[in-house]
């Protein structure tokens, strides 16, 4: 029984197509990553999942039922743009938001305190929200979205704007929640976060689903043709015939090997060649990163982009002036 099912969902704002024929499912107890550059349709998809907007065509079902607002009681939602009542006391705010989702005042009070301790912001409890740092406010909002023990947690860019320590704390918390059996969907444009956390991913670009599947499936469908070398000395080995393309950094090279049935042997030959002239401190053979996969996929699907080098930054599109079309 999938927790979330999107089937052939389409959403158009005025003339801009935000989401086109998007289908995926989220299974219980999984961490699902919704990936894509800014403006690719992540937020639009999420808003349709929680009934803020309705799809123009296609269907959304939550907990194996067609969407109803009562299902939202079982969902925790952290929007991309953070918002709290600035003038309100933190505890009052959490209790208010908890009660809106059906908790009793006493229960909301108890859970708020527990969660504040768990996320190491107990000292913020008596303060006014506007006196807190941005990171702290974000943690408060994180707590507010999970206070009612939702079965499905939907978070739009949950780690943006957090320092590495706090981002790691929230990631650990999400993993714990997943291990307790909750289903979690979060969106991000940072591929490195996804590789560590997610069981399943969906890549979208310009409203279209580019790639989806379990992390292992996605990764294993690509050959281990990426080589990273750190070295001292002569770099003549970088002219080795097995190398298709490479990026040079001081003392480091990121290499893509030429497609071949004997990739493993090619990698070893490259290492042997390198050792002759240089001293090697690191030699690593991996699958392409998600970012590489993503860029490759986007090139396949949009021919206009072929022939020019693509980076994530270039895939970022400016937001439409009048609309938030994500």
């Amino acid at each position: 029984m999938p927790i979330v099912r999107l089937s052939h969902v389409r959403k158009v704002y005025d003339t801009k197509v935000a989401v086109e024929d998007l289908s995926f499912t989220i299974e219980p107890g999984t961490m699902f990553g919704l990936l894509g550059p800014n403006g690719s349709g992540k937020t639009s998809s999420i808003r349709m999942m929680i009934g803020m907007t309705m799809p123009d065509s296609g269907a959304v079902s939550l907990f194996d039922q067609p969407f109803t607002r009562t299902a939202l009681w079982r969902v925790g939602y952290l929007p991309e743009e953070r918002g709290l009542y600035k003038k309100m006391n933190v505890l009052d705010q959490l209790i208010f938001l908890g009660r809106l989702r059906g908790l009793s005042a006493a229960e909301a009070d108890k859970r708020s305190r527990l969660w504040c301790e768990r996320l190491q912001i107990a000292e913020a409890i008596p303060k006014k929200t506007e006196d807190l740092s941005k990171g702290m406010q974000q943690k408060i909002q994180f707590i507010a979205s999970i206070l009612h023990n939702p079965e499905l947690i939907i978070m739009d860019e949950p780690f943006s704007g957090l320092d590495p320590v706090n981002a790691a704390l929230l990631m650990d918390t999400l993993v714990e929640l997943r291990n307790e059996g909750r289903s979690i969907l979060f969106s991000t444009h940072r591929m490195d976060q996804v590789e560590k956390l997610c069981d399943h991913i969906a890549l979208i670009h310009r409203g279209n689903l580019v790639l989806s599947g379990s992390m292992q499936q996605v990764k294993s469908s690509y050959p281990r043709n990426r080589v990273t070398i750190q070295y001292h000395g002569d770099n003549a080995f970088l002219n080795h015939p097995a190398i298709q393309s490479l990026k040079r950094y001081p003392g480091r090279a990121e290499i893509v090997l030429r497609p071949s049935p004997t990739l493993q042997d090619d990698a070893q030959a490259l290492l042997a060649c390198a050792i002759q002239r240089a001293s090697i401190t690191r030699f690593e053979v991996t699958e392409p990163t998600l970012e590489d996969i993503f860029i490759e996929k986007v090139r396949e699907t949009s021919p206009a982009d072929i022939g020019r080098p693509l980076t994530m930054a270039q895939l970022d599109e400016p937001k439409g002036a009048g609309h938030d079309s994500e």
């Binding site: 009934g51 607002r69 929007p79 953070r82 918002g83 009542y85 309100m88 809106l100 609309h323 938030d324």
Partner: protein
């Protein structure tokens, strides 16, 4: 379930607003400022009505003496008449809506100074006028023949003192008449009785009194409503804009239906206004009642009947909700305070239209114009209350007006929540009309 969320949202708005320092300050400061204005104007007004000095220039000193006596007599009579009117008015159970005017409006005394004409008297008097030592002078030129009347010429200091002319002329007329009567051999006592001015005591019919107090309560309702909508109507709009800028609505909308959110806001913010007005009115009533009790020795009757009070409250609260709902719609359409200011007139226009027609409608509360307008929701709170107080609306008209008003409040909340829900997801520019209509079709 919806109700409990509306309640939660309303409660949060209410508690957070009541707690602010701003609420405390306005609650205290506005009555203080109002009281300051009132006392200030009363004080200034009492200074204006001081005695007026005039000089009378004549060779005939007897004439001047007679004039002085006549003026004094008239002033005394006036005072007696005013004093007599106070106890004569109240009927059991009712009280006139207006307090008797005399104790608050001091009569200005005319002090007359006799001057014999000399060569430079006129220049001297003009100088005194310029120096504000005199409010005017009356120059009496004796008649050329004994049968003719003397000529009188009054020079006021400014046009403001020109009003002295009338009592002066009346008094002079009486003096001359008495002189004529004396000439024809009628004794002074008889002349007095002939010349006794006619006194008209104002008597009040019971119904007419109700009507007067009802008219006043309609005006009071209007001004309270106007004030409250001015002060608080836009708070609902501001609160919505605040939620849009802080982006908290997205969390709220993921849990609460926009209709519930709007209804909660209107009720919560509205309750704050009602609380403040309640405090003011309570304080005002306490002061007024205790002051009145001191004056009249404890027997105070309210001018309003219970029915009037109930209808007043019902129409006031519904009217307030109606206008708050419109303010909420304005807030949902705009993104900033500045844009909101431009739309302010939509809130005030119906009230002003209503007020401009009030004069006509007060005279014909059961006329067809009043009957139709009172059923149109923006006008209902004021006009139907006016009709109930002054006219005789049919029960079905009252019921229909309440139903229409309530239905339109709900309809506005529904439309507003649509606009809000779609509007908050769009950024930047203000929507134009076709866009708004399209938003209503989005679900």
């Amino acid at each position: 379930m919806i109700v409990s969320r509306v309640w939660l949202i309303a409660r949060r708005e209410y508690v957070e607003r009541i707690r602010t320092r701003g609420f405390l300050i306005t609650t205290i400061m506005i009555p203080v400022i109002m009281a300051g204005f009132t006392f200030g104007s009363v004080f200034l007004g009492s200074r204006v009505n001081t005695d007026q000095h005039i000089a009378v220039v004549s060779t005939d000193t007897q004439l001047i003496l007679d004039l002085q006596t006549e003026l004094n007599r008239r002033q005394n009579q006036q005072r007696q008449q005013d004093a007599a009117e106070v106890p004569s008015t109240p009927q059991p159970g009712t009280q006139p809506g207006t307090p008797p005017a005399s104790p608050l409006q001091p009569h200005s005394n005319l002090l007359v100074e006799a001057i014999a004409p000399g060569p430079d008297t006129r220049a001297d008097l003009d100088r005194q006028l310029d120096a504000n030592e005199l409010d005017g002078y009356l120059w009496i030129t004796p008649a050329p023949t004994p049968d003719a009347r003397p000529t009188f010429e009054f020079t006021p200091r400014s046009s403001r003192e020109a009003s002295i002319r009338n009592p002066l002329a009346a008094a002079l007329g009486a003096v001359l008449m008495r002189e004529q009567l004396n000439h024809r051999g009628i004794v002074a006592a008889e002349a007095d009785s002939v010349l006794l001015p006619v006194q008209i005591v104002t008597a009040h019919r019971p119904h007419h009194q109700d009507r007067e107090s009802a008219q006043i309560s309609v005006l009071v309702l209007f001004f309270i409503m106007y004030l409250v909508i001015m002060l608080y109507g836009m708070n609902v709009a501001r609160s919505i804009i605040e939620e849009k800028t802080s982006r908290i609505f997205e969390v709220l909308l993921a849990t609460v239906r926009p209709e519930a959110l709007m209804a909660g806001k209107i009720l919560g913010v509205g309750a704050v206004g009602l609380t403040q007005v309640g405090i003011w009115l309570g304080a005002l009533l306490t002061v007024a009642l205790s002051a009145a009790a001191l004056h009249t020795g404890g027997s105070v009757h309210l001018a309003l009947t219970l029915g009037q009070v109930v209808f007043f409250l019902v129409y006031f609260v519904l009217g307030y909700l109606f206008y708050s709902a419109i303010a909420a719609a304005l807030g949902a359409m705009t993104n900033s305070e500045q844009e909101l200011q431009q739309l302010n007139m939509f809130l005030m226009l119906p009230l002003l239209v209503c007020f401009s027609m009030l004069g006509t409608l007060l005279n014909a509360p059961d006329g067809s114009l009043a009957r139709i307008l009172a059923l149109i929701p923006p006008f209902t709170p004021l006009l139907m209350y006016m009709r109930i107080s002054l006219g005789h609306p049919a029960a079905w008209e009252v019921a229909l007006s309440l139903a229409l008003l309530s239905a339109s409040i709900l309809a506005i909340i529904w439309v507003t929540s649509r606009i809000y829900r779609v509007g908050v997801l769009m950024y930047g520019k203000r929507p134009n009309l076709p866009e708004l209509l399209r938003w209503l079709r989005y679900s």
